[in-house]
């Protein structure tokens, strides 16, 4: 559970939980003893005690439970001679490093930093956590904000217990928001089907795509009551047909998102390789630089991963573009018209860049935080939800593609680039500075690689080997699409991604990849110049 969410709920509580728990006076003795029990009892017991704490009516209870379920409730080890259970309870504010910032759980005053040695954190585990979630959700159900209630109700599905069931039925009566009501009803139905094998409840669940509901129905199919069994079966069948379509849509989405990643990785190469004919083996490392830029940004702007990410789009472009210029000036300009040599030289560069990152930054992967607005997924329906980060990346890929298209088609640079690539001497004689164009082109390609890096930092490792994992795929995409053709790259990337995802379910990840490679090899035999070859005289020779 993320801290943000806990804090949010903490806030809600401060404002709204008073009517629920506010009727009793705070009592530190009782609190200390309750917490002590919580600390010293077994996992089995802890749940019950947590319940007691919630009911104790102490307005700090909510905070304790939050901290407890986040593993942030701790006790200062009683030093020699102190009485049993006299250890002070604290809420850990920051738990990184060897000394933790803590705050007194009872008085709430700041105790500064305390060495981990002297702290015993109160152990919590998954089942406890979900129990506490349950308890807290019930509290949330009385919040005025309908969305909060909906979220709470959703959370309740699947972990309703007898005590809660009663409370829910009461709450349902008073609930006026339709969605919340429905969800609560579902939650109850799930409980009924699971615990009581209630036939009418099955009806409520039929057609629900919620996994908990499905789970409940599944368990019902094992029951000995034939009627219930049958009802559950029918309900499941109707759900299954719905699911099929969702699955198909999902696979397509997966394919597109994988494809867009490929496109992003390859499109920079489509410029440097496709347009300039430079076999840039360091392309992967330029991607890596983009990813590391994102990391660097987030280090510079702690606590604002989102802003850092947005800023690192231009930054990543710039960094990689500059690196590209450096490469072009220092090496590639000396290798004009020797494409295979550029392959070797740039491969050398890629080795250097990797080792550079290892020695300067670290051989270890770096943490790049996913901002909230990019994590999680949007729910089309209970069964089909599109992961947000992928969605953003698809969009990003398209934006980058369109941008490049415009640059190549509409701008002076694009014109000059095409002129130079088609007939260098002629372009020169028409007063185009070929060298300048080369630099610009390579910088552009490299910069786009940087953008890819920024995007990739959101789905994969940010480490020295990042580039290597994408370089070969990138080349495949470019060659498959047809060198020197951005459209080709787009189509190739998306189709390869989709093919891969379609194959994966029955071929398995490895075989799928192999099959795709073999497919490309054979395809190149049939059409040596890719999907969209450059035709005519220009292509000859």
């Amino acid at each position: 559970m993320s801290i943000i969410r806990s804090l949010k709920q903490l806030l809600i509580v401060c404002l709204l939980s008073l009517p629920v728990l506010g009727h009793a006076q705070a009592n530190d003795e009782q609190a200390q003893s309750l917490l002590t029990q919580l600390a010293e009892s077994s996992y089995g017991q802890k749940g019950k005690i947590a319940g007691e704490i919630a009911r104790s009516g102490d307005e700090r209870a909510r905070g304790w439970l939050e901290a407890f379920s986040a593993g942030k409730l701790a006790r200062i080890e009683p030093s020699k001679g102190d009485a049993e259970g006299s250890g002070k309870f604290v809420i850990v504010l920051s738990n990184r490093g060897r000394n933790w910032k803590v705050q007194d759980a009872l008085t709430g005053d700041d105790l500064g930093e305390i060495s981990r040695r002297d702290l015993d954190s109160i152990r919590v585990n998954n089942s406890l956590r979900s129990e506490i979630d349950g308890i807290l959700s019930v509290i949330d159900l009385t919040v005025n904000d309908a969305d909060k209630r909906l979220a709470a109700a959703r959370g309740l599905r699947g972990n309703v217990d007898e005590a809660m069931a009663k409370k829910l039925t009461e709450l349902m009566a008073s609930e006026e928001d339709a969605d919340v009501k429905a969800t609560l009803n579902e939650a109850l139905a799930i409980y009924k089907v699971e615990e009581q094998g209630d036939l009418s409840a099955v009806k409520t669940l039929s057609g629900s795509l919620n996994s908990e509901a499905r789970a409940a129905l599944n368990s019902a199919t094992y029951s000995d009551d034939p009627a219930l069994k049958q009802a559950a079966r029918d309900a499941l069948a109707s759900i299954e047909t719905k699911l099929k379509w969702n699955r198909a849509a999902e696979t397509l989405y997966f394919g597109l998102s994988l494809g867009s990643v490929l496109v992003l990785a390859a499109i920079g190469l489509a410029i440097t390789f496709g347009v300039m004919g430079v076999i840039n083996m360091a392309h992967g490392e330029l991607i890596m630089l983009g990813a590391y830029t994102t990391w660097g940004m987030q280090q510079m702007l702690p606590g604002q991963p989102g802003l850092a990410l947005i800023l690192s789009i231009p930054a990543g472009f710039l960094v990689s573009a500059l690196a590209g210029v450096a490469i072009e000036r220092s090496v590639i300009q000396f290798l004009k018209g020797r494409p295979l040599e550029t392959l070797l030289a740039t491969f050398g560069i890629s080795l250097v860049l990797q080792q550079l990152v290892r020695t300067v930054i670290s051989p270890l992967n770096r943490t790049v935080v996913t901002p909230d607005w990019m994590s999680g997924s949007i729910m089309v329906n209970e069964a089909l939800s599109l992961t947000l980060n992928r969605l953003y990346i698809i969009g990003f890929a398209l934006v980058v593609f369109v941008g490049l298209m415009l640059i190549m088609r509409k701008t002076r640079l694009g014109l000059e680039v095409r002129a130079v690539t088609q007939n260098r001497a002629m372009a020169r004689s028409m007063g185009i500075k070929a060298t300048k164009v080369d630099i610009m082109t390579f910088a552009l390609g490299s910069g786009v690689a940087g953008l890819a890096g920024v995007a990739l930092s959101q789905i994969t490792n940010v480490g020295p080997n990042l580039g290597q994992n994408y370089i070969i795929d990138s080349f495949m995409v470019v060659v498959f699409g047809g060198v020197g053709n951005l459209w080709g790259t787009l189509v190739a990337g998306l189709s390869l991604g989709t093919i891969n995802q379609l194959l994966e379910p029955w071929a398995g990840a490895v075989l799928a990849k192999i099959l795709v490679l073999v497919f490309i090899i054979l395809f190149i035999q049939k059409r040596p110049r890719g999907l969209f070859p450059q035709k005519g005289r220009a292509a000859e020779g």
Binding site: A345, Q355, I472
Partner: protein
């Protein structure tokens, strides 16, 4: 160059080949003698560790020669020669695995250990026959040869050349690497084949066997070099160069370019296979990482460093780079990749002809040499 001589004997009339063979022979002799005669601990003693190391270098040298044959003379930059190397290695590895017999940890007379503990109940069909040395050694040539034949036939027929060819060769070796990583393939997955016991009845762990392998590698390199030399000095060699420089022109002269390419490509692949086969027993393991595209690129760089289209350059390059690797990974590991990377860049940018380009005269001289009788006459004509 002497055009009227038989293609097989022609190489021996070349100064460069004579020098190369001489140096190689001396080197192998000296190492062997020092290893046998010199007392351990004396400055001149060559430990079996060094012998094996040198053996490994020679394998790489042969591999580099194979690459130079296609790249230097045919203009085909293969980024997949590691695949042929590895296939040869696996063929040998399978033989060595079968030689272990029931001395494996599970004592299964037929199944290699990795099959036993992954519950394979019987030997997969493609493992049969590898208990016989002759079969295995044929496969060492056949496996890479066939792959090269099929792949080359498809590629050259449809005139896939230059960059495109390089990239799909890379795809080829990459696909093979993924395939061999799969444990279902029955080649030991990531662990590959290892823990070999003996070869042709000799215990691999004895110094004698090591020396034997080292000498065998030396001979293989010599033979391979002469074969390549014979090809490139033959008319076919000149046709290859013709294909490299002006493919269309060559066609209009009536040569079937794709067949020339296919022939040379297959020969090269087989040589690579032999190199792999000799490599495996000396390093004691073969695993899919030999298929890695990076390795294949590295080979090309050895050749580039030594100098394209000279063959002996390839040998020099392979030995220098790998020696450097041995040294650097020992003394300053962190700097190693910097050194290697910088090397790639510097060579390609400032040393396009490679080291061989630095020692001129060698090749020229041989030409004038063999020309002397004829050219003299014709000059007057």
């Amino acid at each position: 160059m002497n055009y009227s001589q038989s293609w097989l004997t022609r190489p021996f009339t070349e100064r460069s080949t004579q020098i190369f063979l001489g140096v190689l022979f001396l080197a192998v002799m000296v190492v062997s003698v020092l290893h046998l005669v010199m007392p351990e601990g004396s400055a001149l003693y060559v430990s079996s560790y060094t012998v094996t190391l040198l053996g490994k270098y020679l394998c790489y040298a042969l591999l580099a020669v194979a690459v130079d044959l296609v790249w230097g003379y045919l203009g085909i930059l293969s980024l997949g020669h590691g695949a042929f190397f590895a296939l040869g290695g696996y063929a040998m590895g399978m033989y060595l695995m079968r030689q272990i017999g029931d001395r494996g940890v599970y004592g299964d007379p037929t199944l290699p250990d990795f099959m036993v503990f992954l519950n394979w109940d019987s030997l997969p069909w493609y493992w049969h026959g590898f208990d016989m040395a002759w079969f295995a050694f044929i496969m060492v040539l056949l496996a890479p040869g066939l792959l090269a034949l099929v792949f080359g036939f498809l590629a050259f027929r449809s005139r896939v050349t230059g960059v495109y060819l390089s990239i799909i060769t890379q795809a080829l070796t990459f696909a093979l690497m993924l395939a061999f990583f799969r444990n279902e393939m029955g080649f030991g997955g990531n662990n590959g084949l290892t823990d070999f016991k003996d070869i042709l009845g000799f215990d691999l762990r004895t110094d004698a066997a090591r020396l034997g392998l080292f000498i065998a590698t030396g001979i293989a390199l010599a033979v391979g070099y002469v074969i390549c030399r014979a090809i490139v000095t033959s008319k076919l060699g000149r046709v290859s160069v013709a294909c490299r420089d002006a493919e269309a022109r060559t066609r209009f002269l009536g040569y079937r370019v794709e067949r020339v390419q296919l022939f040379v490509f297959v020969v090269s692949a087989m040589l690579a296979g032999v190199a792999g086969a000799l490599y495996v027993p000396q390093v004691g393991i073969i695993n899919p990482s030999e298929f890695s595209p990076l390795f294949s690129i590295e080979i090309v760089v050895w050749v580039a460093l030594g100098g394209r289209a000279t063959l002996y350059g390839a040998v020099i390059g392979a030995i220098i780079v790998n020696y450097a690797k041995t040294v650097f990974t020992g003394i300053l590991p962190d700097a190693w990749l910097f050194a290697l990377g910088a090397l790639f860049v510097l060579v390609t940018v400032f040393l396009p002809k490679g080291i061989a380009g630095l020692l001129p005269g060698l090749k020229k001289k041989t030409d004038d040499e063999s020309e002397a009788p004829t050219s003299g006459k014709e000059a007057t004509a």
